[in-house]
Every structure is written in structure tokens, then in C-alpha cells.
């Protein structure tokens, strides 16, 4: 069953949107649970996004996409 | 709260037997200092003679067996011996464009130092450094031709010892003119804020080439700047070898015991010009004669006579030994070969 990769909701307080600044793996890559897979930025602060599960990742939002808290940016199957 | 003066600080240490001993030079220290002052002075006198070879009647700096610039330390010997009496080979010293007295007191290899001044391949750096860039890694001595440049590296050496948990203090010798360089301020603050085993010794010979201290520096006593860094500061007056030895001893011991940095200014005299060839027209008439009358070597000789019973005969013996060290070093330098010219391309990277 596919696990969604979403923008964490507990990293910043306001409802500001984030930008995906870097994907640190390619579309279709194998990832392990907890692996650092992307960097996002809210205002000037960088945050990390880690894989919620192990498996093959499909990226649905590219680098430079603007995303809201909780938005899905990929899934792992 | 004002930082402690060295006297107040040493009062609190009165219980410790060490402190009383540090206040007066021991007999051994007195003779050690006297010998090093003599070697230093004989060295400067000989180097001066050789430097002038080939530069008469026309003084062209490029000519002669010792070309380039030359900055002699006649009169400033007390600064070197008073401080280095408390230092070990593992302690780090950086010095200035006027380095010879400090190098000798620090234990730099005399033969190799003179060979370096002559530019011979047997010199400390194979001739690549010369008189203003004397490096002796065996005794952790380095000097530089850039005013104030030795401050940062000495602070870094002190940092290194503290980080490695190794013994050792670092001493930076600078002139009173260097105090007005930004490098001085930055290094003093860094040493203080990181509480490093670092001592800054200001050799105040009153002149920055032709500019008197009173014209260049906003305060007559640079030791007051220590307050800006929250550290002890002290000014030694009148080139007193014993007082330098006392005060430096306290500062160095404080640093060794984790007490952090100190700043010491020493009022000393430059008996020769800023550099060889300096006509010194800027010095007031009679100033040099007055200073020669207070030659610190004569003062030391008199003290050893009255305190330690040094006789004229013993003194002649000591002087002969010191003169021989210098003469041997000069002979070694003269006998040594120049490096091959192509060797200039080597040692850029190790």
C-alpha cells in the first residue's frame, strides 16, 4: 500500500507555504525509512523531509514547487 | 570591575612559594640573561660591520654580503632576556622585523640564523627568508616583516595548546607602533574572550621609524588598553631587566595556570637607527648620548658585580665566550655556500 510523502505540519507555526528547494533522490529511487529525501524552505529557514516508509518513491511535486502544510509531494510504494 | 594589576594579583598568590621566587631573578637567571644580552649585542655589532661592507662610499641596500634591510636591537636586549628567561623551547614566540635579540634569547640556532641572514644554503630557511623571516621550528620561533602580523598566529598557537591539552604559552613581541594596527586589537580580544595562554609584549622604543610615540598614539601608556579586554596590563619603565623579568614571570605563570592573557609594555631604547642607513635626523640632539649612558648591559654588569661578586676577570671570560659564539657563527656563515639559483622554485608547497 502506497504511503504518502507530505509536508510536515509541525515544523512551523504560521500557515505560510513552503518551497521545495531540493529533491535529494530521483523519481523512482529506492529509499529507506527515515532517509533524508528533500529540503524545503519556509521564508529563510530550511527544513528536512524524511521518508515515512521504505520502498520506491514517486515524486509528484518538482523542485521549486510551492506547497502548503500537509500537501502531498510524493508517495512510496 | 577593574582587572587586577599584576601587583594586586601577585599579592593574592603570596602564600605560594613560587611567586616570591618569581619576583627576583635567581643567580642562574641573572647570568643567563647577562650572557644572552652579550651574545645579542656582539651579534648586532658584528652584523652592523658586515652589513656596511660593500655599502661604502655609496649606501646602496642591494650591495654587500648582507643585502636588503637590517633592523638592529641594540639597547632592547632586556625585553628579550627578561621574557625568555621564563620560556621553554616548546613555548611559542613570534617577533618582528627587529628579531635578533628575541631569537637569540629564545634559543634559535645561532649558526643557522647568521647563515640565513647571509642568505646561505645552510641558513634556517636555506636563504629564502633572510633577516626578517627567521623561522626555527625546533624552538617554535617565527618573525615577520609585516607590522602586527605575529599577533594572530601567536594567539592561534595558544589556542592549539589549549585545545590539545598540551603545555605551553605563546608570546607575541610587537613594537609600540603595532598597537595602532587592527591586528593588535583583534588578537587581544580573541585571546581574552577565549582565555588563552597568550602574552603580548610591547617593546616601546619610543619611535616608529621617524614618528615619536607621542605623535602616533593617543595614550602614553599602552598597558591601559588591557582594561578594554578585561585582562591585566603593566608598563615597565626605563628598560629595567629585573623588573621585566619579574613582571613577565608573573604573566607567564598566570597563563600556564589557565589564568588567560596579559599585556605588558616595556619602555626600552633603540640605540641604533630604525634600519641601517637611517640618518636619524628626527631624534632630538643629545637623546642618543643620554641613552648610551644607560646602556642596559652596563647596568647588568654593575648589578652582577655588587650582587653576585662578579670580578673583571670573570667578566672578561664570559665576554670572550660570548664573542666566540658570535664569531663562530659568522665564520660558519661566511664559509657556507649560497644555494643553487634554481632552488628558488622549491619549497613553495610542502
Amino acid at each position: 500500500m502506497a504511503v504518502a510523502v507530505t509536508i510536515p505540519t509541525n515544523l512551523w507555526e504560521e500557515d505560510s507555504e513552503a518551497v521545495i528547494t531540493s529533491w535529494l533522490i530521483s523519481d523512482g529511487a529506492s529509499v529507506s525509512k527515515g532517509q533524508l529525501i528533500a529540503e524545503i524552505m519556509v521564508e529563510k529557514v530550511q527544513h528536512e523531509v524524511r521518508a515515512p516508509a521504505a520502498g520506491k518513491i514517486s515524486i509528484s511535486q518538482p523542485a521549486e514547487a510551492v506547497v502548503a502544510k500537509g500537501a502531498e509531494i510524493g508517495s512510496i510504494a | 570591575m577593574a582587572p587586577p594589576t599584576l601587583q594586586a594579583w601577585s599579592k593574592t598568590k603570596a602564600n605560594t612559594k613560587n611567586w616570591e621566587e618569581l619576583l627576583t631573578p635567581t643567580r642562574e637567571q641573572k647570568f643567563w640573561m647577562y650572557r644572552n644580552m652579550l651574545v645579542s649585542r656582539f651579534h648586532e655589532e658584528v652584523i652592523e660591520q658586515i652589513y656596511l661592507e660593500g655599502k661604502k662610499p655609496v649606501f646602496n641596500m642591494a650591495n654587500g654580503p648582507i643585502p636588503g634591510e637590517m633592523h638592529l636591537s641594540n639597547g632592547q636586549e632586556p625585553c628579550a632576556v627578561g621574557v625568555c628567561a621564563h620560556l621553554k623551547p616548546a613555548d611559542v614566540v613570534t617577533s618582528t622585523h627587529r628579531p635578533h635579540h628575541v631569537a637569540i634569547a629564545k634559543g634559535v640556532n645561532l649558526n643557522k640564523m647568521v647563515a640565513e641572514i647571509f642568505g646561505k644554503k645552510t641558513g634556517l630557511s636555506g636563504g629564502r627568508g633572510g633577516h626578517m623571516h627567521i623561522f626555527d621550528a625546533d624552538v617554535n620561533f617565527a618573525c615577520s616583516g609585516i607590522i602586527g602580523q605575529g599577533m594572530g598566529p601567536a594567539v592561534g598557537a595558544a589556542l592549539s595548546r589549549k585545545m590539545q591539552g598540551k603545555e605551553g604559552v605563546a608570546v607575541a613581541f610587537i613594537g609600540e607602533g603595532a598597537v595602532n594596527q587592527g591586528a593588535f586589537h583583534e588578537a587581544m580580544n580573541l585571546a581574552a574572550v577565549w582565555k588563552l595562554p597568550f602574552i603580548c609584549i610591547i617593546e616601546d622604543n619610543q619611535w616608529g621609524i621617524s614618528v615619536a610615540k607621542s605623535e602616533s598614539t593617543a595614550v602614553p601608556d599602552n598597558s591601559v588598553r588591557a582594561q578594554a579586554y578585561g585582562i591585566p596590563g603593566y608598563q615597565v619603565r626605563d628598560n629595567d631587566t629585573y623588573e621585566i623579568c619579574r613582571v613577565a614571570g608573573e604573566a607567564i605563570e598566570r597563563a600556564r595556570n589557565g589564568g588567560g592573557p596579559s599585556l605588558i609594555e616595556i619602555e626600552t631604547y633603540r640605540l641604533a637607527g630604525h634600519f641601517m642607513g637611517d640618518a636619524e635626523g628626527y631624534r632630538p640632539a643629545g637623546e642618543l648620548d643620554g641613552l648610551r649612558a644607560k646602556d642596559p648591559i652596563n647596568v647588568m654588569r654593575a648589578r652582577l658585580g655588587s650582587e653576585e661578586g662578579l670580578t673583571d676577570e670573570q667578566d672578561e671570560q664570559i665576554k670572550a665566550e660570548c664573542r666566540k659564539l658570535v664569531d663562530d657563527a659568522v665564520q660558519f656563515a661566511r664559509d657556507s655556500e649560497y644555494p643553487a639559483a634554481e632552488e628558488a622554485m622549491e619549497k613553495v608547497f610542502v
Binding site: 531540493s22 530521483s26 532517509q35 | -
Partner: protein, 351 residues
């Protein structure tokens, strides 16, 4: 021989240059207690450009030291510590700030080994940010590669991607000489000033070295050699892509290190293609572009089928306003224009 930039591996792990630098430093610090880091905002903040992220947490404040704003003091201190058995990695936040401490760098760090006949070593790494393009104006956007490469006694490295960044940092820390590690802000991976995605590439987890003095042929070709450094490499690759669509085959070389400089790889490529374009974001005159062209000209000018061209920053202070800054900066289209000029330039041969 010539190496390719690492491509996607089985267990892919991409890093930004910022992370790659921090990782290289951490790996060395784990095995060598003499390595430590000093600079402004490199401890708690992890570096304004992210290159010391995580180091304070792992190694503590004795070895990861925030300094006062005292470049002369801590550059000088790095020299003294390096001469006393430590291996400092010290940061000059912006290369543009070199003016306040250059004596300690070019006159002290770079020369002490020579002045002492090799008896005193200065094994320090000075890492510094370069480059603009995001309106940071004339005192925060310079590259100054030529300034540092020109003066003797210091090695100079300029990574264009994260794989090289980690390997070059490892080599730099292990080198017994002063190394100036010049990273480009626009390649760093810091979101707040935009980044070139091509710089974020797969980086192996283990420590590895990339030797100095070995340029990389990052794209093979036959019609023209395009030599780049730092961001210039990415401009060159994009230009090469566009040229391929027009049937032109460009060979792109990433110099990777300026001192020592791999003149052989450049010469061999130009001997093959006969045409040379050099791309550099540093000022044009008296710098990297002239040095590469002189390298070919003095060795054997007959290999050239056309006059070499250079795409570099003009000799002006960097302007603030966006239209002016973008006008001045090298970019892929300027490389294409240079190729047209190159074809049009009078050709000649030795008889």
C-alpha cells in the same frame, strides 16, 4: 585519466554542495582530532551557507568555534594553530571580505612554508563563498578566483557539484598546505538564493579524495572545447545541450582546481577540437580566462583553428539592479554567441 561526474547510483543519495562540505568535514573530524572549524556563525547556525550544518551538535563548541568579527585575528590564528599541529578549517564568510585580512592569508599563510624552507607547515583550509546573481551587489557577489590563484603559495579549488565538493574538501583537509576552497553561492543548495539543480548530485557516504590538479571532462565532444570553473561549468553544459540541438558537439571541461592547474587536459582537448571558449564568473581581465588561453598559445598556437573566446564578467564593480547584473553575468546564451564569434573570427594556420 579524465573522469566523469558521478551519475545516479543504485542507492541514490543526492546532496547539496552545502551538505557535501559539512559531511566531508565531519568525516575527517571523526578520525582526526586535530581538525577543527572556526568562523563567523559556523557553530549554532551551521554556517550562513549551510556548510557546517550539524557539526556543533556532533563535535561541540571546543572544536566548532564561532568567532568575533575579527578576520585578521582568526585567519592569523589559523596560521599559528596550523603551524602547531592542528588542521584548522576556517571560513571567510564572503570572499569579498578578504580585504580586511588578506595579509594573514597571502603574506603569512601562503608564504610561511617557503620562508622557512619547508620547515614550518601551514595545513589549513580557508573556505569562502563566491558568486552573485541574486542582487547582493558589489561587495557580496564577487568570485575573485584570479586574485587568489595569482598569488603563490596557496592551492585554490572550485567545486561545481556536490560529488566534487566532498572529495575536494577531503583532499584539502588532508593537504599539508594552505588551501583556499571557493564555493559558489548559487550552487550551494541554499533555498533562499536559488540554486542550480545540476550541482545537487549523488554523493557516496564514505570518505574519498579528489586529487588536485586533475580537471574533469564532464561532456565529451569534437567541435569545440568549453572550459568552465564553478558556475561556469553549468553554463557550459547548458550551452552544450543547445549546441547539440544545432548539430554542434561541444566538449566541456570542469577545471575543479585552479592551483594546481591541469593544463594538460585543457591542451589535449583543444588540440583535438581546435576551438576554445573559456567561461568564468570572475572579472575578465588578468584572470582565469586569460590564463587558459595563454596556456594554449604558449604551448602550441598551431592547434587553434580559430581565435579563443572568453565569456567572463566585465571589468566593472558588480551592479545591484537586476537588469544590470543579469546583463553582466555569463550565461549559456553568451556562450552560444561566443561560438558564433569564434566561427566568424579570422582563422589561420602555420604554413
Amino acid at each position: 585519466m579524465n573522469e566523469q561526474v558521478a551519475t545516479v547510483a543504485a542507492n541514490e543519495r543526492r546532496l547539496t554542495i552545502a551538505r557535501a562540505m559539512a559531511e566531508a568535514i565531519a568525516l575527517e573530524m571523526r578520525t582526526d582530532p586535530s581538525v577543527f572549524v572556526m568562523g563567523e556563525d559556523i557553530a549554532k547556525l551551521g554556517g550562513v551557507f549551510g556548510n557546517t550544518r550539524g557539526l556543533l551538535e556532533e563535535f561541540g563548541s571546543e572544536r566548532i568555534r564561532d568567532t568575533p568579527i575579527s578576520e585578521t585575528a582568526f585567519m592569523g590564528a589559523a596560521v599559528g594553530a596550523a603551524s602547531d599541529g592542528m588542521r584548522p578549517v576556517v571560513e571567510l564568510m564572503f570572499v569579498d571580505f578578504f580585504g580586511v585580512c588578506f595579509d594573514a592569508i597571502y603574506n603569512c599563510a601562503a608564504k610561511n612554508a617557503y620562508f622557512s624552507g619547508g620547515n614550518v607547515k601551514v595545513p589549513m583550509v580557508l573556505m569562502t563563498s563566491t558568486g552573485g546573481g541574486y542582487s547582493d551587489a558589489g561587495q557580496h557577489s564577487q568570485c575573485l578566483y584570479g586574485t587568489f590563484a595569482h598569488l603563490p603559495g596557496m592551492k585554490v579549488v572550485t567545486p561545481s557539484n556536490a560529488y566534487d565538493a566532498k572529495g575536494l574538501m577531503t583532499t584539502a583537509i588532508r593537504d599539508d598546505n594552505p588551501v583556499i576552497y571557493m564555493f559558489h553561492k548559487g550552487l550551494q543548495g541554499m533555498g533562499w538564493l536559488g540554486t542550480e539543480p545540476g550541482a545537487t548530485v549523488h554523493v557516496p557516504e564514505e570518505a574519498y579524495e579528489i586529487p588536485f590538479g586533475k580537471a574533469a571532462v564532464v561532456r565529451k565532444g569534437t567541435d569545440v572545447t568549453i572550459v568552465g570553473v564553478g558556475m561556469g561549468v553549468h553554463h557550459s553544459l547548458k550551452a552544450a545541450d543547445k549546441q547539440a540541438a544545432q548539430g554542434v558537439s561541444a566538449e566541456v571541461i570542469d577545471l575543479r582546481t585552479l592551483v594546481p592547474l591541469d593544463r594538460d587536459t585543457v591542451f589535449n582537448s583543444v588540440a583535438k577540437t581546435g576551438r576554445l571558449i573559456v567561461v568564468d564568473e570572475d572579472y575578465k581581465s588578468y584572470g582565469v580566462t586569460g590564463e587558459i588561453i595563454a596556456t594554449i598559445a604558449e604551448r602550441d598556437v598551431s592547434v587553434l583553428k580559430a581565435s579563443p573566446q572568453r565569456v567572463a564578467y566585465p571589468d566593472i564593480p558588480i551592479p545591484f539592479t537586476r537588469p544590470m547584473e543579469q546583463f553582466a553575468l555569463p550565461n549559456p546564451d553568451k556562450i552560444l554567441v561566443a561560438y558564433e564569434n569564434l566561427k566568424r573570427a579570422r582563422t589561420w594556420r602555420w604554413l
